[in-house]
Amino acid sequence: VPLPSEDKDDLLLAEKYLRRFYGLPAGLQGRQRSSVAFQSKIKEMQKFFKLKVTGNLDDNTLDLMKQARCGVPDIGE
């Protein structure tokens, strides 16, 4: 079922966030693999911010992604 446009915006925001701050690989890697990577990066971000680690893009996680913040990645180089 096509995502409602709002969900799609949130998904794009989340992808951009995880790519910039948690090293989510850029580009298309096949549907299955990218969703696994996506989920594991969400878990990493939830763990860092002491949110409930679900791997899902829940409201709490999205709220945090929308807050003003520093541009330095939270993990890695």
Partner: protein
């Protein structure tokens, strides 16, 4: 706290910096002062010293730019990304960039340049992001007053450079309280539109029936106008107002907003002048009364008439058998009063007039 991989740091304690350009949002002298104060935050607790250059290449080159600004690491317009900085090293190492599309201020009305600069210069000295929401190196912006470093930040920077050999007395902020600390006590508990808010130190936890994990936030990032320390709190759902008590003052909040005319003195409720602090407060929905606890006594305030009931104060121990100690916080649910004292909470049944259960204070936080 975290460091960058390989614990990148400056090898020389004398670090140079240069401000390449300025934001039009503030006077040049305000920007200079914000940067200098931000550097002092770190030099206060380390052997580091900072020398300002006016030309040539400095270790830390500071500039304002918007969108793509020369390092292929573009900013994003207003909000979102506020600034970034690079870890210690040659070339771009240490350089610190601020997003010119933000509105930079000296106060809390927009993004405070001093606070953001102190955070970014932490990166420029080798600090990575901290997961402690009370730390300066926490990645999400929040406006705070007073000395910006928490113990977590000081431990982190001293792990790289050691302490300041001539320390000036600084009062670091305590770290964020750990919700599962078995000895955890609460400052205050209240409801807020169906959620439970628990105040502890500079923070509050927010509990929502559909939110399995309590969310910890700085009080001032939600309510900048109330103090960092809350003694007592209660909600009057009929008026959609939460009353916050700290010392001899009280604040009325309607959601995020402070109700006009507040803060007021607590004596306006009818408390005698000798009362300087309220320990706990709770609104009893079934009677329309608010109970205010101070030391061994308590008062009953009639919300409908806005007056204190006669015949008070009364003894807590006499009216609530089993509660022979002071109370830190109190809440009321479906005929049961919950008294919180240090690391224990007592479930008191109004109907059977006795304590029927004793639990750990933080069992309410899923611990």
């Amino acid at each position: 706290y975290n460091h960058f991989p390989r614990n990148l740091k400056w090898q020389n304690n004398e670090v140079t910096f240069r401000i390449l350009n300025y934001t039009p949002d503030l006077k040049k002298t305000d920007v200079d002062r914000a940067v200098r104060n931000a550097l002092n935050v770190w030099s206060d607790v380390t052997p580091l010293t900072f020398k300002k250059l006016h030309q040539g290449n400095a270790d830390i080159m500071i500039s304002f730019g918007s969108k793509e600004h020369g390092d292929y690491n573009p900013f994003d317009g207003p909000n979102g990304l506020l600034a970034h900085a690079y870890p210690p090293g040659q070339g771009i190492g240490g350089d610190t960039h601020f997003d010119e599309d933000e509105h930079w201020t000296k106060d809390s009305s927009a993004y405070n340049l001093f606070i953001v600069a102190a955070h970014e210069l932490g990166h420029a000295l080798g600090m990575s992001h901290s997961a402690d929401p009370g730390a300066l190196m926490y990645p999400v912006y929040s406006y705070t007053t007073g000395y910006p470093l928490a113990e977590d930040d000081i431990e982190g920077i001293q792990a790289l450079y050691g302490p300041n050999p001539n320390p000036r007395k600084v009062k670091p902020k305590p770290d964020a309280p750990n919700k599962c600390d078995p000895m955890l006590s609460f400052d205050a508990v209240t409801e807020l539109r169906g959620e439970t808010i628990i105040f502890k130190d500079r923070f509050y936890w927010r509990l929502h029936p559909q939110m399995p994990e309590p969310e910890q936030t700085l009080i001032k990032s939600t309510w900048p106008s109330i103090p960092n320390k809350v003694d007592a709190a209660y909600e009057n759902p009929e008026k959609d107002v939460v009353m916050i008590f700290s010392g001899i003052r009280m604040w009325a909040l309607n959601g995020y907003n402070l109700v006009d005319g507040y803060p007021k003195y607590i004596h306006k409720l009818g408390l005698p002048k000798k009362i300087r602090k309220i320990d706990a407060s709770v609104y009893i929905r079934d009677t329309g009364k608010t109970l205010l606890f101070t030391d061994e006594d308590y008062w009953s305030y009639d919300e409908a008439t806005g007056t204190m009931d006669s015949g008070y104060p009364r003894s807590i121990e006499e009216d609530f058998p089993g509660m022979d100690d002071e109370i830190d916080a109190a809440s009321y649910h479906y005929g049961y009063l919950y008294f919180f004292h240090e690391h224990m909470q007592y479930e008191y049944s109004y109907t059977s007039r006795k304590v029927i259960r004793i639990m750990r204070t933080n069992s309410i936080l899923n611990c």
